[in-house]
């Protein structure tokens, strides 16, 4: 039974993190100025945060020093700058990374 409660609590806390901002800032007729501003600039900051977040468990101080991850990101970014096709960048970048971690490093 304790197992079920762990899942319930984890699900409720997760929902709370999603609903809270809408409950706090979405009540009135008009969205507060500062929230409108943050809404405009946050996506840019968050995408940077998420890229770093994906690297959080990479051990940069031990072999292979995060080289596969960094090379993978460079390939994805370069392809995206060149062709502007997300599916192509993501597909090629992921396969490239898989080859690196399975066969090279």
């Amino acid at each position: 039974m304790h197992n079920v409660w762990i899942v319930v609590v984890a699900a409720l806390v997760t929902m709370a993190t999603r609903f809270l901002p809408f409950i706090i800032f979405g009540r009135g007729k008009k969205t507060p100025d500062i929230i409108l501003y943050l809404g405009k600039v946050l996506p840019y900051a968050i995408m940077g945060m998420l890229v770093v977040y994906c690297m959080k468990d990479v051990a940069f101080l031990a072999y292979p020093y995060g080289i596969p991850e960094l090379l993978g990101c460079v390939v994805v970014a370069a392809l995206q700058l060149w062709k502007r096709s997300s599916l192509l960048s993501i597909g090629v970048g992921t396969v490239f990374y898989m080859v690196l971690v399975q066969l090279v490093f």
Partner: protein, 230 residues
């Protein structure tokens, strides 16, 4: 609903489909290794719908953690959702009956798609957000369940496939960088997170990072205004 528009939505979510099948699959496998069957995989995927949150839940289950530590650990991992909500308060304001579901289903990946992509012709912004959320949710539950059923019987090696989601965020980052002349928010996002990761470590860095980002963005708004009036 126009077929063509839905096709475009499906195409936009393809990277998420790939990522979720494997990431959800990894979760399902882990869960089955700890002795939890398809029932658990299905309902956790359906009601939590949070990648790192569910991986964390597996270890909480395995160690029979207390409910207090479950709540705190989940909060630390999922606090980033607060930011998604803040930046979508206005976009989702008049989403009507679908709004609670759209908020419930707001993941990292859904967030990056709905903030970056334009809805296809003939489809409203909120409708687009709804369909992206729903498709992503379906992919995720399928991934969790399939992984749990197939377990580690799969013959091929999929090591590294989780990079598909990193790649998704990198392309979104690059697209945003190209489409915007003001790079300050992007730089603030990367630098604050790297700094906090180094100072606080990978367990709790997200909350201080978010606080730092919010403060720096607010301050930079004031200086931007002052520049304007000078």
């Amino acid at each position: 609903m126009k077929k063509q528009a839905l096709k475009t939505v499906f195409r936009d979510t393809l990277p998420v489909l790939t990522g979720y099948l494997f990431l959800g699959g990894g979760f399902g496998i882990l869960l089955s290794e700890k002795g939890y069957g398809i029932f658990w995989a299905f309902f956790m995927g359906l009601f939590m719908f949070a990648g790192s949150g569910q991986y964390l839940a597996v270890s909480l289950l395995a160690s029979q953690a207390s409910l207090i530590s479950t709540a705190i650990a989940t909060l630390l991992v999922n606090a980033r959702h607060l930011f998604y909500g803040i930046s979508l308060v206005d976009t989702y304001r008049d989403a009507g009956r679908k709004k609670p579901y759209m908020i419930f289903a707001l993941t990292d990946e859904t967030y990056s798609l709905v903030t970056q992509n334009q809805p296809p012709e003939g489809m409203g912004r909120q409708s687009y957000c709804f369909w992206v959320s729903l498709l992503d949710h379906i992919y995720w539950v399928c991934g969790c369940v399939l992984g749990n059923i197939l377990g580690s019987t799969l013959p091929m090696r999929f090591d590294g496939v989780e990079f598909v989601l990193t790649a998704l965020f990198v392309t979104m980052f690059v697209e945003q960088w190209i489409s915007n002349t003001n790079h300050r928010p992007a730089v603030i996002g990367v630098c604050s997170t790297v700094l906090c990761l180094m100072i606080f470590g990978s367990q709790i860095f997200l909350i201080p990072s978010m606080a730092l980002i919010a403060v720096l963005l607010t301050v930079s708004r004031k200086t931007a205004r002052r520049d304007l009036h000078a």
